[in-house]
């Protein structure tokens, strides 16, 4: 790679460079702060992400290009996920600023680490070479391990971190093995090159399936699909809640991005941007993904029913949602991918919302148990109503955007033809099952008696604003022209 090409690529790398700059600024700024001032780093970090968003905005309309000898791609697909991840990170930092868990400790690194994860995810969603995919994945994972264990003196948090590391190391090892087999088979690391090689049809189907399964283990871990999900509940419960919120949204979205890109470019015949595509002959991965999807949503939903801790419940619910999103991967054509993008966008709002309410409750009443939410609907009406909206959206009930997102996914499956209608039926039945535990939160908040606290709890203003920001798009965002769906329809364009 010569220097001119490097310089040319840098032109397209502005958001990442801005982010890197702010990471350095934040680290240095943190050195000058006392312990009780260290949360100020959070403001720098938020500012950094906002500037990054501006540069992302300025990048719109650039043609799809490969960067750094095509190790990374700049395309509308990647940029959609960059937006998502950056906005998610901003919301999480906003929430972290007054989280009680993070009070009275030095939190400078906390924000820096989140910025680094964001940077890693920027790379992950645009990676087009197995090496860059692996490196970006590890970058995200390593930072997440540290963040999950951030409450150093809390044994649950330590346990979370250790579990996360062990599962993560194992699954990335398995994935690396799959990638190396793939490299050995095709002699190239570029996913588009892999596709060209595989199309010659000389590879044995058994080996191909083995490779696919090994690689799926790595991605499945990131999106917490069953049976690679075992870390999820423990990590979600033990990690600081803001980090749990972040982990349940951003790395999952990035994991989906790389999964879709990989499958759609490497394991299909022909142009990934065309409407009609076929799975590689001899490797029927849509069926594998369909089975994974059915398994994931069922296990997630069934196990969520018996949870009493809100964070664990949301952890299993996030597993179930990964299952729903996998339904779109099965039919990874234009409409399918667009449906997944839409779902990730909506899922970010509703899931972050649910976690933020959990954080606020933890701040106010120091509890994470669902039955302790009794009477919340009366003690703090706006928090109650917000939580109700998030629960209904997660359950996929109209008129929330959660319904529309699910609708688009089911629509894709039904449209695909008879082959996967069974999966749609499965998904719908799962939707009914999931209602049971989402409604339990409702029931606690509104139906159960509490020692009627005559005084209403005072909710900090900025929290109310945050709830408003999350609730309004969920309720009415899709009714007026559905801007998100326009965006997602345009975002399905790969550079390969």
């Amino acid at each position: 790679m010569d220097l001119t090409q490097l310089a040319l690529s840098l032109k397209y790398f502005v958001p990442e460079m801005v982010l890197t700059g702010f990471i350095l600024v934040a680290i240095i700024y943190d050195l000058f702060l006392k312990k009780d001032q260290s949360h100020r780093v959070g403001f720098v970090a938020i500012l950094g992400l906002l500037v990054t968003l501006v540069t992302l905005y300025l990048q719109r309309g650039l043609p799809s290009t490969g960067l750094f000898s095509n190790m990374f791609a700049l395309d509308s697909f990647a940029s959609f996920f960059k937006w998502l991840v950056a906005i998610g990170a901003i919301l999480v930092m906003w929430m972290s600023l007054d989280s009680k868990e993070l009070m009275n400790r030095k939190v400078g690194e906390f924000y820096v680490l989140i910025l680094v994860v964001v940077f890693g995810m920027f790379l992950l969603v645009s990676a087009t070479h197995i090496l860059s995919i692996y490196l970006a994945l590890e970058m995200v994972s390593l930072m997440s391990y540290i963040l999950a264990g951030y409450l150093k003196e809390n044994s649950r948090s330590n346990e979370a971190s250790i579990k996360y590391v062990i599962y993560g190391a194992f699954s990335s090892g398995v994935m690396l093995y799959g990638l190396s087999l793939l490299y050995g088979l095709t002699g190239t690391g570029y996913i588009s090159g892999i596709q060209t090689q595989l199309m010659t049809g000389q590879a044995s189907p058994v080996l191909l399936i083995l490779i696919a399964v090994l690689i799926l283990a790595g991605f499945g871990y990131k999106i917490s699909a069953v049976p690679f999900h075992f870390w999820t509940p423990d990590v979600y419960e033990g990690a600081p809640t803001t980090i749990t919120a972040f982990l349940s949204v951003a790395p999952k979205a990035a994991g989906f991005a790389v999964l879709i890109r990989f499958l759609n470019v490497a394991f299909t015949t022909g142009d990934p941007n065309s409407q009609a595509w076929l799975a590689l002959p001899g490797l029927n991965w849509p069926v594998i993904i369909a089975a994974l999807s059915a398994l994931t949503m069922t296990v997630g939903n069934v196990l969520a029913i018996q949870q009493t801790n809100i964070k664990r419940m949301l952890a299993y619910s996030s597993i179930a949602h990964a299952g729903y999103m996998l339904m779109g991967v099965v039919v990874a054509d234009q409409t399918g991918i667009s449906a997944i993008l839409y779902y990730t966008g909506v899922y970010m709002l509703m899931n972050l919302g649910a976690f933020f309410v959990a954080i606020q409750i933890k701040n106010l009443y120091d509890t994470e148990t669902i039955s302790d939410y009794a009477g919340l609907g009366f003690k703090a009406p706006w928090v109650g109503i917000s939580m109700a909206v998030f629960m209904f959206a997660l359950a996929g009930l109209p008129p929330t955007a959660g319904f529309v997102a699910k609708f688009y996914l089911f629509r894709t499956l039904v449209q695909f033809g008879d082959g996967f209608i069974w999966l749609a039926v499965f998904g719908l039945i799962n939707g009914v099952v999931s209602l049971f535990y989402y409604m339990r939160v409702m029931k606690a908040m509104y139906f159960e008696k509490m020692e009627f606290a005559e005084t209403k709890t005072v909710i900090p203003l900025h929290f109310s604003i945050l709830m408003f920001v999350l609730v309004v798009p969920l309720l009415v965002g899709w009714m007026f022209g559905d801007p998100l769906s326009h965006w997602t329809n345009q975002a399905v364009h790969f550079f390969y």
Binding site: V414, V425, L428, I429, W478, D482
Partner: protein, 502 residues
């Protein structure tokens, strides 16, 4: 503004709900009167719609048609015809009166009335939507307020009743959603527009889904979705429980309007869009109607709880609607829709009257009263009127619609109809027997001081009674409204169903 009457009639309650949310919770009267105003205005708009409606034209009128989500060809499409207009009139009428019967609801009135108005909007939306997607959204929107209204203001087992209602109807909705998607994809270009789907009915009957005839598969999916709402045996078990636990006004809404949405769904979607499958399923539908009639009546006869008895009488009465619909004759169809309207008014009276006695005696055990006629003669008189309307006494509206259902069904399903008439006897039996046990005989000494029905309660019942008597003597205005559309529907289903065939 004249052009947007249907939008207005749907969303006026939503505006009311928003205003109520903004009123401080101490100002109880302001909250109540806002609810009264919202439903009252809705009622007035419904009358304006009636004024604009041309009853000689059987087609859809007062159309509002805009593109909504163009990417998926989803439309904001509203309109009414002779099938929906009776329901559009019924909904605000019952809602308006039900506001008065919930005047003294005990707690969290702000939440109660705003949810009530949302429920009202959802129901109205279902009756005016002509785009299946829009229809479905309203169908679901109604669920949540209902869940809270039963779960928060209901009786002792309210939570169980609320969740059972919710899960049952949600399960139905899920099948409805699947059927809706299958319909959507059966046509090129994909559409949810019910008018276009109806025009394409023959084509849908010729496609295949999972190796089976698409028409039949979709019909069954929609059937279960709608049947749970009606409710048709064996999907009825949520109903008695929900009714018993719900507060009076909510029972009134539930039986008066919500149940009609099931049969309305059949007539609005299943029948016109899947005529061949409808003819194929007509006999099973009639048999299910018969089961509803006999089973509902028998179960009502066995009840000790007055409200449960009335709840089972709803199952019984909806059976007549099913029988009339299934017959696919002009008389049967008109009878069915007329019965939907009449059952709405009559059952509203029944539930309100149960509420009146429950407010005073704090129980609903039929055998726990006795001899009340001497103590509360006005109440006894009104109950007699409602009970007679319920058992289909000639001269009251229920008689005419039931008779029409039977007349329509007899030539087609002779034996079924003959057995169904047995239901009438049982129907009379449970009403008369319960009346006798409550009002005749020696006065139960516990009720020496039972208070007579008060003015507010009486005035919520009088309008209903007037409608019941008026339509019982002179049904022509109502039948004129709907017969054009319904006769056209019958002809259409028959011809299209036979040509499409299987």
């Amino acid at each position: 503004m004249g052009a947007h009457l249907l939008t207005l009639v749907t969303f006026v309650p939503v505006i009311g709900a928003i205003i109520i949310v903004l009123i401080p919770r101490e100002k109880l009267d302001a909250i109540r009167w806002t609810a009264v105003a919202a439903t009252g205005i809705q009622f007035i708009i419904a009358f304006m719609i009636l004024g604009k409606y041309n009853r000689l034209n059987p087609d859809i009128q007062l159309i509002e048609h805009y593109s909504w989500i163009p990417a998926f060809n989803i439309e904001y499409f509203m309109g009414i015809d002779g099938l929906s207009l009776p329901m559009v009139l019924l909904t605000p009428f019952i809602s308006f009166l039900a506001i008065f019967s919930s005047w003294n609801i005990p707690k969290a009135q702000k939440g109660y009335f705003s949810l009530f108005l949302l429920l009202d909007a959802g129901m109205m939306g279902v009756f005016v939507s002509l785009d299946f997607f829009l229809f479905y959204i309203f169908w679901e929107v109604m669920l949540l307020p209902m869940y809270f209204l039963i779960g928060m203001w209901g009786g002792p087992k309210k939570e169980y009743a609320a969740i059972k209602f919710f899960l049952y109807t949600l399960f139905g909705s899920v099948l409805l959603l699947l059927g809706m998607l299958a319909l959507y994809f059966s046509l090129e270009p994909h559409t949810f527009n019910l008018v276009m789907l109806r025009a394409a009915a023959p084509a849908i009957s010729q496609t295949f889904l999972l190796g089976l005839n698409a028409g039949k598969v979709i019909f069954i999916l929609l059937f279960v979705g709608f049947a749970i709402k009606v409710p048709i045996f064996p999907f009825h078990t949520w109903l008695p429980l929900a009714h018993v636990e719900a507060p009076t006004a909510i029972s009134v809404i539930l039986a008066g309007i919500l149940l009609k949405m099931g049969t309305y769904g059949f007539l609005r979607v299943s029948f016109p869009v899947l005529p061949a499958a409808t003819l194929w399923f007509a006999l099973p539908l009639a048999i299910l109607g018969l089961i509803n009639i006999i089973y509902g009546a028998m179960a009502a006869l066995a009840q000790k709880d007055l409200k449960k008895m009335v709840a089972y009488s709803s199952i019984n009465h909806m059976g007549y609607v099913l029988l009339g619909m299934a017959a696919m004759t002009s008389a049967g169809m008109n009878g069915a829709v007329f019965q939907m309207f009449n059952h709405g008014t009559i059952t509203a009276m029944l539930f309100m009257l149960v509420g009146v006695i429950y407010d005073r005696a704090h129980h609903r055990d039929i055998d726990g009263f006795g001899g009340l006629a001497a103590k509360v003669p006005i109440y006894a008189g009104v109950v007699a009127l409602a009970w007679f309307a319920g058992l289909g006494l000639p001269g009251l509206s229920g008689f005419l619609s039931e008779a029409l259902c039977f007349i329509g069904a007899f030539p087609v399903f002779t034996w079924i109809t003959i057995f169904a008439t047995l239901g009438i006897v049982l129907n009379a039996a449970y009403f008369l027997w319960s009346y006798q046990r409550m009002f005749f005989g020696p006065l139960n000494p516990k009720y020496e001081n039972l208070a007579e029905i008060n003015k507010r309660e009486l005035w919520t019942l009088v309008p209903l009674a007037i409608v019941v008597i008026f339509l019982g003597i002179y049904p022509a205005p109502m039948l004129d409204l709907m017969s054009g559309t319904l006769n056209q529907l019958v002809d259409y289903v028959k011809t299209a169903g036979i040509t499409a065939g299987f």
